[in-house]
Amino acid sequence: MGREVLNGDAVVHWIERAAEVIGENEKYLTELDAAIGDSDHGANMARGFAAVRGKLAGQTRDDVGAILKTVGMTLLSTVGGASGPLYGTLFLEAAKVAAGKTEIDRATIQQSLSAGLAGIQKRGKAEPLDKTMVDALGPAIQAFEGAAGLSLAEALARAAEAARQGAEATIPLVARKGRASYLGERSAGHQDPGATSMWLLLRSLAEAAAE
C-alpha cells in the first residue's frame, strides 16, 4: 500500500485527519500551554482546523497548491495568537511550491516543507533550540531527506518520528521565543505546545500517505 505521490484527495485527507487528531488533543495542547504560556493553544488550533475542514468541503481537489493556500489563509484568519501566522505561513509557503500541481511527489513535498520552515523562521525569528515548533519541523525535514531509500509513506513516518523526538527534546530547553520566554528558566521542564502540535500535524501526514 501507500503511494509515491499525494494527490488533492490525499492532501485533503491529511488535513481532515490532522483536524481530527488536534481536536482529540485540544485539552492536552492547552495543558502544555497552560504550563508555560497562556492556555489557549489547544482551543485556538482546534478552532482553526475545524474551520479549515469546513472550508475544504467545498474545495475542488485538482490543485494541491490551491488546497494548501485555502488551509493557510483559513488558519491565518481563525487561529490567532502566534500559532495562526506561523501555521498560516507554513501552508502558504508550501502552497507557493505546489501551485498548479495536481499531485505532489517526494521532491515537491520536501521543497514545500522546507519552504514552510523557512517562512516560519522568518516570521517568528526563531532558531533551532529556542523551544518552538521549529524544533519539531526541522528534524522532521532532515529525517525525510535522509530516508531516500524508503517508500514515501515510510519516509514520512520517519519524519513524524523525528518530529516527536524533537518535540520531546524541547522539554529541558529554556524558551527564547514566544510567551514562554517571559518565564526564563521556569520554562524548562515543559514540552513546547507548538512543537507538539507540529508533530501531530506531521504524524497525520504520514498516516494519510500510508493509506
Binding site: 497562556d38 492556555s39 482551543a43 481563525t78 490567532g80 495568537g81 495562526g84 529554556v174 510567551r179
Partner: protein
C-alpha cells in the same frame, strides 16, 4: 489629585457615555469568593505544641512509676475527659498521633512537676488545645492545599528536589515554598504523616496567647477556593466576545460601529477623510482596552481577538481598510509574539493594497528582562497613554510619520509594572491560570493571567506600591525635576478605593525622587479579566505630550473636553 488632573471617567459624573466599569461588566463580571483571612492564621496554631514535645523525652524516661498513679486523677475530671473523645475522632490521622502523644506527655509533665492540681490544669489545657484544633480543623485539609511551585525568593531555586518532595510528601503548611518543604521533609524519609506533623510542629516556637476562634469556622469555605467553579456572566465561552461587541454597539451608537466576520470596531464617523487613523488591537479580556477607546480623539478602530489571543491579520487588514482616510494608519501594537506577527502580516497586506501603515510597538513592562533571550518587554499600561496621545495628534491633523514618531517617544518614556492579588480565569480554560495562596501575591504580572516574575507575601499597600515603583523609578528615563504622568491602573477586580491608596503612595515616591506629577489617571483601563491587582505606569512627559493628553477625547471609557 492635583488641581490640573483630569478626572478619570469612572468617577466622572458627566452623563451620556457610560463609565469604564460598565464596559468591563459587559465583558466579564465576576464574583469570586474572597479568601477568608482565617486561613492565614493557621501556621501559628500549628506551632503551639512543639516546645512541650521537645522537652519531654527526658521526663518520660524518668516517669514510668508515676504514670501508674495517674488513673485516679483521670477519674477526678470526668466531665472534661468525656468531652474529648468525639473531638479526637474528628481530627484526621495526620494530626492525631501528635496530639495524642502530646496530651499524654503533657499529662505526665503536669503531674510530675506540679502535682494533682497542675495535672488537672494540664487536662484543661489539653482540652482547650483540642478545642482550638477542632475549631480550626481546616489544618489537616490544608495538607491537600497545593503549595506553590515557583521558586521562592527567600530559599532559592532548587525546584527539582523541592517539587519532588511537594509532589510526594504532602502535607505542608500553606505557603510552604519548595525549599522549606525540603527542609521539612529531608530528615524523615519513610516516616508516617503523624511523625511528619510532629517534625513540623517541633520547628515552630510557642505561639502567642490563645484566642478562641468562632466555631464552627466560616473559614472552611476557603478550602474550596482553588477548585471553585468558574462564576461569570456568560452564555457560552465561544460567544462571549461577539456578544460583548454587540452590547457595545448598542450602548454607544453615537461613538462607534461594530462589524463582524471579521470582527472590529470603528468610530461612528469613520473613515475621516484626510486624517491619519490610529488602530489598535489585541486579545479580549483587557476591557476597556481597546474597544472602549474608540471614538473621537483616540482610536479610529480596534480589533478584538479571542480572550487573551491576538486578532488575526484579516481582521486587522479589514479594519485598516475601513478607517483609512487616505493619510495612512498607525498600528499601536503591544509587544507580544502573536500580536507582533499578526500585525506584521496585516501591515504587509495593507501595503499590498496601497495603504500606508506605521507601527508603534509598546514594550514598557519593567518586570520583564529585556534581552536577546526573551521576546522582549511586554506592552502594558503605557499602551493607553500612547493611544490617547497619538489619537489626539492624529485628530489635530499631524502626518503619519509624526504621529508614529510621537507614539514611539511616549513608549520610550513610559515604564510600568504590576502585581496580582488573585489570578483570573480564561472562560475557555474554566480554571485559574495559576494559584495563589491566601497571603500570596504575584509580582511582575502581565495582563494575560500568565505568572509574573516572582511570588511574594501580601504586605501593606504602601510596601506593595514601593515594590512596583522602585523598579519603575530605577529604570530609565526618569530624572529629577521632570514632569510625569502617573497612571494607577486596576487589573479588573480591585476597587477604585484601593487604587487611590496606591496612587497616594506612588505620588509620594515620585515626589521623593524630584518628579512633578502633572497629570494622572486612576482606574481600570487595561485589565486582566477579573484579576485583583494593580499596575503603575509612569510617563515622563514633555509639553507636546501634555498638550495632546489634554486634548478633547470622546470614547466609551475616556471622556473629557467635550
Amino acid at each position: 489629585m492635583l488641581p490640573d488632573t483630569k478626572e478619570p471617567p469612572a468617577e466622572n459624573p458627566a452623563g451620556g457615555s457610560p463609565v469604564p466599569p460598565a464596559t468591563l461588566n459587559a465583558a466579564s463580571m465576576v464574583s469570586m469568593p474572597a479568601v477568608p483571612p482565617i486561613v492565614t492564621t493557621v501556621p501559628p496554631i500549628v506551632a503551639t505544641i512543639p516546645p512541650i514535645v521537645t522537652t519531654i523525652p527526658p521526663i518520660v524516661a524518668t516517669v514510668p512509676p508515676i504514670v501508674t498513679t495517674i488513673p485516679p486523677i483521670v477519674a477526678t475530671v470526668p466531665p472534661i475527659v468525656t468531652t474529648i473523645p468525639p473531638i479526637v475522632a474528628t481530627i484526621p490521622p495526620i494530626v492525631a498521633p501528635a496530639v495524642r502523644a502530646q496530651r499524654f506527655l503533657r499529662l505526665v509533665e503536669g503531674f510530675f512537676f506540679l502535682g494533682i492540681g497542675q495535672c488537672a490544669f494540664g487536662f484543661a489545657q489539653v482540652l482547650v488545645n483540642e478545642l482550638r484544633l477542632r475549631s480550626r480543623d481546616v489544618r489537616p485539609s490544608l495538607g491537600r492545599h497545593r503549595p506553590h511551585r515557583e521558586p521562592c525568593t527567600k530559599h532559592g531555586n532548587d525546584e527539582e528536589r523541592a517539587n519532588e518532595i511537594l509532589e510526594h510528601e504532602p502535607p505542608f503548611l500553606p505557603g510552604t515554598c519548595g525549599r522549606q518543604a525540603e527542609r521539612q521533609a529531608s530528615p524523615r524519609a519513610g516516616r508516617s504523616h503523624g511523625s511528619l506533623a510532629v517534625s513540623i510542629l517541633r520547628r515552630h516556637p510557642r505561639p502567642p496567647p490563645f484566642r478562641l476562634l468562632p466555631f464552627p469556622l466560616a473559614g472552611r469555605a476557603s478550602l474550596s477556593v482553588s477548585s471553585a467553579s468558574m462564576k461569570k456572566l456568560l452564555n457560552a465561552p465561544s460567544d462571549l466576545v461577539k456578544e460583548a461587541l454587540a452590547g457595545m454597539a448598542l450602548a454607544h451608537p453615537d461613538l462607534l460601529r461594530v462589524q463582524f466576520d471579521p470582527a472590529f470596531l470603528v468610530r461612528a464617523d469613520a473613515p475621516v477623510r484626510g486624517k491619519v487613523s490610529v488602530l489598535s488591537g489585541g486579545g479580549s479580556g483587557h476591557e476597556p482596552l481597546h474597544g472602549g477607546f474608540v471614538g473621537r480623539g483616540m482610536l479610529d478602530a480596534a480589533c478584538p481577538g479571542a480572550v487573551f489571543t491576538s486578532p488575526t491579520p484579516d481582521q486587522i487588514l479589514e479594519a485598516t481598510r475601513a478607517v483609512d482616510g487616505g493619510a495612512g494608519v498607525v498600528h499601536v501594537v503591544k509587544n507580544y509574539t502573536g500580536d507582533v506577527m499578526n500585525f506584521e502580516m496585516a501591515g504587509e497586506l495593507a501595503r499590498d493594497i496601497g495603504i500606508a501603515t506605521e507601527t508603534v510597538l509598546v514594550n514598557d513592562d519593567v518586570a520583564v528582562e529585556n534581552s536577546l533571550y526573551t521576546a522582549g518587554r511586554r506592552g502594558v499600561g503605557t499602551t493607553v497613554l500612547v493611544e490617547k496621545i497619538c489619537g489626539a495628534a492624529a485628530e489635530a491633523g499631524r502626518a503619519l510619520a509624526d504621529v508614529a514618531a510621537l507614539g514611539r517617544r511616549v513608549n520610550e518614556h513610559g515604564r510600568s509594572m504590576g502585581l496580582a492579588l488573585t489570578p483570573c480565569t480564561v472562560p475557555h480554560a474554566g480554571k485559574p491560570s495559576f494559584e495563589l495562596g491566601p497571603d500570596e501575591i504575584e509580582v511582575g504580572i502581565g495582563i494575560h493571567g500568565e505568572p509574573g516574575r516572582r511570588r511574594a507575601k501580601l504586605e501593606p499597600a504602601d510596601r506593595l506600591t514601593e515594590m512596583l515603583m522602585e523598579p519603575i523609578l530605577d529604570d530609565l528615563p526618569f530624572r529629577a525635576g521632570k514632569d510625569v504622568l502617573l497612571f494607577v491602573n486596576g487589573l479588573g477586580g480591585t476597587p477604585l478605593l484601593e487604587l487611590y491608596v496606591v496612587f497616594r503612595k506612588a505620588h509620594e515616591l515620585a515626589a521623593a525622587r524630584g518628579l512633578r506629577v502633572v497629570r494622572s489617571l486612576v482606574g481600570p483601563y487595561i485589565t486582566s479579566l477579573e484579576m485583583a491587582g494593580v499596575s503603575i505606569t509612569l510617563l515622563q512627559v514633555d509639553d507636546e505630550m501634555v498638550r495632546y493628553w489634554d486634548a478633547p477625547v470622546h470614547t466609551a471609557a475616556l471622556r473629557w473636553g467635550v
